[in-house]
């Protein structure tokens, strides 16, 4: 699945031209005339690479960047500015911007920045999917199995777990088999990774 580019600039000429360029580069583009319009996009929370101007009426590009960074899964942001002074540049990178471009923006630089943004988006989406998968598996464990998994992760042996929980080692072995089935792995290392991922 390809994500769209969210283009935000309050200058209609610039917006129109950059949108056209990005479309010829093969991207789907949604253009907005300001940060507020972008934040109200439909569908809410749609994923994509943000390309924003810094100087805009209302919320500025840098303020939007800070706001997006606060999200649990921040969107990649490419910052474009008409007057690229050092302090704006530093703020942009500190704020987690993918790239910082000055107007007039060259096609190649824009393409690379958007590609980098898209790559970052893919990466975070994949990571997210993995996490979602792991937590779904953990959800299936019973309370006792969950307790035993955490003790396994703490590095305790079956006998030690049985003694700690005042169970028979056989019962503990049976629960371990259930955990291995539900998580789809018998490897202790993989089990530990599943527990550690949030």
């Amino acid at each position: 699945m390809t994500h769209p580019v969210f283009l935000i600039d309050d200058d209609a000429d610039v917006r129109e031209a950059l949108a056209l360029l990005l479309r010829t580069l093969g991207y789907a583009v949604q253009a907005f005339d300001g940060a507020a319009a972008f934040l109200q996009r439909e569908p809410a929370g749609a994923q994509g690479c943000v390309v924003t101007d810094v100087r805009m009426a209302g919320l500025s590009g840098l303020q939007l960047l800070e706001r997006l960074q606060a999200d649990p899964q921040p969107l990649p942001v490419v910052v474009i500015t008409g007057h690229g002074d050092v302090s704006v540049c530093r703020r942009a990178f500190r704020g987690g911007a993918v790239d910082f471009l000055t107007k007039p923006v060259d096609e190649q630089a824009l393409l690379e920045a958007v590609q980098a943004g898209m790559a970052r988006l893919e990466e975070s989406t994949a990571l997210q999917a993995q996490r979602t998968q792991a937590s779904a598996k953990l959800e299936q464990l019973s309370a006792r199995e969950d307790e035993i998994l955490r003790l396994i992760a703490d590095g305790l042996s079956t006998k030690e777990i049985a003694r700690r929980l005042e169970l028979s080692p056989r019962t503990v072995e049976k629960h371990r088999a259930g955990i291995a089935f539900k998580l789809g792995t018998g490897s202790v290392a993989e089990m530990v990774r599943a527990v550690l991922s949030p």
Binding site: D13, A17, T24, H83, K103, E107
Partner: protein, 523 residues
């Protein structure tokens, strides 16, 4: 574009010498009236002096003529006495010849009112006499006394007046002692041949001051002063002095025609002086306006540096769009697009190139040297244009700029560049007042009502102390280090030149408000 904000105070001073502080004031009408009256008084004095001199000369001429005539007449008396003396010595007991000659003399010379031949000793007796009916009698004892003092054939006057004249006595021989008496009416003696000099009294006096003839009682009195003439008649037998006294009247010294000419001439002179003054004032006013234009231009050029980043940003926008449109177009061609697909791209580029051109044109006209051109201008658009150019600079200084624009969209009759310059100046002043302040904010607000429209530049800076507020529009008043103090005074002149007003209000600690009141354009 060469942008310079290194134009310092010295360069500005060279380009535009300081504006003269106040316009040249016209004379109020009472001063013209006073000047006219002063001219009238001076002129009247000169006229009176000249007339006095002129009348004096004419009087002198007349007096001399009269004097010459009378001196001749007086000389004739001696000649008559000499002739009569010769006749009296003829042997003619009846004195017929004497009487005939005496009568003839009296007929030709009416001023000689009596001629007597008198024997004085042993008994005084009139031997022959011819006299007017009205002639005053002469006492023979007096004649005898006088004759006794004379040598034979000598003549002299009696000391006392006789009637309205005097009498001459000529002694004839010793035995018997006899004398000739010639009695003269002074009034006829001093009567001129032709016209009598106007307003002139004439009389005769002797060395003792005895007056012969009609001297008026008020001869020496009165003002203006009288002209006088006194000269001896040069006769030994009649040691008399002719005296003339000429009365002068105001009407003679200040004739109505002369006064009228003075009044008109004075008024014409003042009118000419006024014209010269007006022309000079107009010339000075023109020079001052030319200086103002130069100063305004210098200040605009000077202020351009602060707008440089704003200008750069303004130009970057269309350039960015053009670059992207063009690159998109090239890519579309690579992808096999046809010419029709290029049309919107080229149209956009044409529009964007024009947009850049308009920005450059605006900057160029802002810094050009030009005459103000008053026309209908949308005030909100003008404020937005100024805001765009100053925003980058204000942002760099950490100052927020807020526009509060009148939704009615007032249209004003102004010279757009003058008002842009005034707003730049006011915003720049506000920015300097706000330097380094947290939460610094400049608000530019437009408002309108039936009377006109206003644009106000409001800051939340430290404000201006009341004693300084009263002086902010004065030339060369400044609180800034290195400031020339011409910015606000120039703003005031620029606003006044288009029929507007500028006002400053301030609350120390809260901020300042500079309000420019402008005339609305007729709908």
């Amino acid at each position: 574009m060469a942008l310079s904000n290194t134009l310092d105070a010295k360069t500005v001073a060279l380009t535009a010498p300081p504006v003269p502080a106040a316009p040249v004031a016209a004379w109020p009408s009472w001063r013209w009236l006073a000047a006219w009256l002063l001219l009238m008084v001076l002129g009247a004095a000169l006229l009176a002096g000249w007339r006095f001199h002129q009348l004096g000369q004419r009087f002198d001429d007349e007096a001399r003529t009269l004097h010459r005539t009378i001196a001749q007449r007086v000389g004739q008396h001696d000649a008559h006495l000499t002739n009569l003396h010769a006749i009296a010595q003829l042997d003619d007991p009846q004195r017929a010849t004497f009487r005939a000659v005496a009568s003839a003399i009296r007929t030709f010379y009416p001023r000689i009112v009596a001629i007597d031949l008198v024997r004085l000793a042993p008994v005084p007796e009139v031997l022959a006499s011819t006299r007017d009916a009205g002639a005053a009698p002469v006492r023979l004892e007096v004649v005898a006394q006088r004759a006794a003092t004379l040598g034979a054939g000598k003549a002299a006057m009696l000391d006392a007046p006789v009637g309205t004249g005097y009498a001459m006595v000529k002694r004839i021989g010793d035995a018997p002692l006899s004398a000739l008496v010639l009695q003269i009416d002074a009034a006829q003696l001093i009567a001129p041949d032709g016209l009598a000099p106007a307003n002139t009294a004439v009389w005769l006096t002797d060395a003792h001051g005895t007056v012969f003839g009609g001297r008026p009682a008020d001869a020496d009195e009165g003002w203006p002063r009288a002209l006088g003439f006194a000269q001896g008649l040069g006769s030994t037998s009649q040691p008399l002095q002719l005296v003339l006294s000429r009365r002068l009247g105001w009407a003679e010294l200040l004739p109505a025609g002369g006064l009228l000419a003075l009044a008109i001439g004075g008024a014409a002179l003042l009118w000419a002086a006024g014209s010269v003054q007006r022309v000079r004032r107009a010339r000075r006013e023109a020079a001052r306006q030319a200086q103002e234009l130069r100063l305004a231009h210098a200040m605009r050029v000077n202020g351009l540096g602060e707008m440089a980043s704003g200008i750069a940003h303004e130009l970057t926008q269309p350039l960015t769009a053009m670059l992207s449109q063009s690159q998109a177009g090239l890519r579309l061609i690579e992808q096999g697009a046809d010419a029709a697909a290029m049309v919107p791209i080229l149209q956009a580029n044409v529009r964007l190139a024009r947009r850049s051109g308009d920005i450059l044109e605006r900057i160029r006209s802002y810094v050009s040297q030009r005459e103000p051109a008053v026309e209908a201008v949308a005030l909100n658009a003008l404020v937005e244009g100024v805001a765009e150019l100053v925003q980058a600079d204000l942002r760099a200084r950490g100052i927020a700029l807020e526009l509060v624009l009148d939704p009615a969209g007032p249209v004003v009759r102004i010279d757009a560049i003058s008002v842009e310059q005034v707003l730049h100046n006011l915003v720049r002043n506000a920015a300097e007042a706000l330097a380094g302040q947290d939460g610094a904010c400049i608000t530019v607000r437009t408002r309108s009502d039936a009377a006109g429209a206003q644009v106000a530049v409001i800051d939340n800076g430290p404000g201006i102390a009341p004693e300084q507020l009263a002086r902010v529009f004065q030339p060369f008043f400044t609180t800034k280090e290195g400031g020339m103090g011409l910015g606000l005074s120039l703003c005031e002149r620029l606003v006044e030149n288009i029929g507007g007003r500028i006002e400053a209000q301030s609350t120390p600690g809260e901020g300042s408000v500079f309000t420019v009141q402008l005339r609305k354009a007729a709908r």
